[in-house]
């Protein structure tokens, strides 16, 4: 089994060469590793490599193919790039435009204020929505000039992270 994993900007090719119990032999790009690897708690792995002991924690985000990975002191975002993902990527290529058009908040929270209306004309940098979480308010701004075409939420709504809030075109 060989797949690609995207870690930040890096795209790594990973191939499992052998697996016996918790002993695995695995290739990451051109480097081969022999590891003793075991899930010891929910989402927590204990890894022994050349006698060194590492703890790695995994959190699934959004989908089952995206992880937030914590090693000792570092956090990484990893994404499994399998055939399905590639297909979706291909279909969405050139879709940067779409990303710029949709305003989202990376964290869950509560919509405090929407200072624009359907049909409002906005300039890049104008605040289009204000979200509050844990006593802190964040303003989200238009990433381009345009017209407010959709407002998916209402003031006082509780929202999820990464949920589309406002669409500008």
């Amino acid at each position: 089994m060989a797949i690609e994993i995207k870690l930040g900007e890096r795209m790594a090719k990973v191939e499992l060469l052998a697996e016996e119990g918790n002993q695995i032999k695995i290739m990451v790009d051109s480097k081969e590793y022999n590891l003793d690897m075991l899930q010891v708690e929910n989402g927590v792995y204990s890894v022994l490599y050349k006698g060194r002991s590492y703890n790695v924690e995994l959190i699934e985000t959004d989908s089952s193919k995206k992880y937030s990975v914590n090693t000792f002191y570092h956090s990484y975002d990893a994404e499994i790039i399998d055939a399905e993902t590639k297909y979706l990527q291909a279909r969405n290529s050139g879709n940067l435009e779409a990303t710029e058009s949709t305003i989202t908040s990376p964290m869950p929270g509560k919509v405090v204020k929407i200072p624009v209306e359907l049909g409002s004309e906005v300039k890049k940098g104008d605040t289009v929505i204000i979200v509050s979480a844990m006593k802190m308010e964040s303003e989200y701004k238009a990433m381009k000039d345009g017209i407010v075409k959709e407002i998916y939420v209402h003031e006082e709504d509780i929202i999820d992270g990464n949920q589309p809030l406002v669409f500008i075109d």
Binding site: I26, G43, V44, L58, F72, K135
Partner: protein, 507 residues
Amino acid sequence: MIKKISKVLVANRGEIALRVMRSCRELGILSVAVYSDVDRTSMHVRYADQAIHIGPATSAESYLNIDKIINAAKLVKADAIHPGYGFLSENAEFSKRCEKEGIIFIGPTPEVIATMGDKITARKTMITSGVPVVPGTKENLKDESTILKTVREIGLPVMIKASAGGGGKGMRMIDKEENILEGLRAAKSEAMASFGDDAVYIEKYISSPHHIEFQVLGDKHGNVIHLCERECSVQRRHQKVVEETPSPLMTPELRAQMGEHAVAAAKAVNYHGAGTIEFLVDNDHNYYFLEMNTRLQVEHPITERVTGYDLVKQQILIAEGHELKMKQEDIFQFGHAIECRIYAEDTDNNFMPSPGVITHITEPMGLGVRTDGYVYEGYEIPIHYDPMISKLIIWARTREEAIERMRRALFEYKITGVKTSIKYLEKIMDCPDFRNGTYDTHFIQNNEDFLLAADEAKQSFEDLAIVTAFINYHNKLKSTQICPKSSLQNKWKEFGRRRGMFRASEN
């Protein structure tokens, strides 16, 4: 006259509610939790002997609603209310209402809260009592020529501050003569917009200021003592991040002097209960009264650790009418204590709050480690309240050992599911200005590059992260082949067994 308290309603949530209930339990006092819609699963509800629902998530309709809390207290026949910190803890009206209803408010009288809550009145009271204050005016200034005169008397740089203010609003620092009037007008109009009151006052601006506060305890018989200082200069946007005691700046003489003034400040208002006198201190050991907090502070555990006194128990005993058992000369600081506040926030992304479900938590243990938290595995941190998850309080014989122990404890502290400030706090512990104890309230701003620097070792752990993600995905794919035969089975047993099999026979 002693009035024994037998049931305390804790008008708060999160770690402080638990912390108060712990002391109640040790004293044999029943505790009552109140909770909003989103807090049914919160640990304080589980820990309390009783729990009363008081309304929706929005604080104004629950934790800040005086009527609802009083009704809950009457319903369960609580004879006292502990307000914790935040919420209604410094609300004079609430204290008054408790008085009226015949419920003991574990805190000061409404008059004291009102006096100390208004910055100008507090300043006046301190000046009258001989407690040094930051040079400046006591009253709202209107006439612009008077203002120019006053500023010249105090000497630039000065701060203009809103009387009713807080959080940096209605505040201006002026260091050039030509900016005085412009700054004043801006401050007044901001104060009016933010607080509906444009009263301002002028203060000497202290460069390299240290934020040092003194813990005081006063009983209802006129006795007041202090429990030494806390150094709170590590602040980000006026929020304390790390606190320690003793302060690296302190000398025994300065402590004695400031302590006397802290006691005088409390005596000036016939203070009873636990309170904190905040001072600004400059590098030359000049110190000035800043404000008084008429409640327990978030950082009170470091004082508990070096002096050994349980401050919540002291609050309760005082509220019951007991005299303080200890005298000033009994108080001493044994060793050194540091507190780190752990927030659910993304320190790499402008400290954006990070609510969510705690998927896994491992608390640090061992000698000199205290954790005061309230989250547990599977708990969802709500978006409506403070992002503080817990406080990590470390003690050691020396400051140097305390820093090493804090680093060790932060290393052990694992919270996943939400982003936390743990890594950022580790950076603070590594920062030379902090290690040397040569820092003031500009510490975070002065060390921003160091504290937010990307770690060079990051790259070397990339493959480890990649492999782990791969194996997790790989095993998930394998397990989807088999539909679980019986979801009636104990999940943990299954987990244990699965792991055992994986080790023993999977190949």
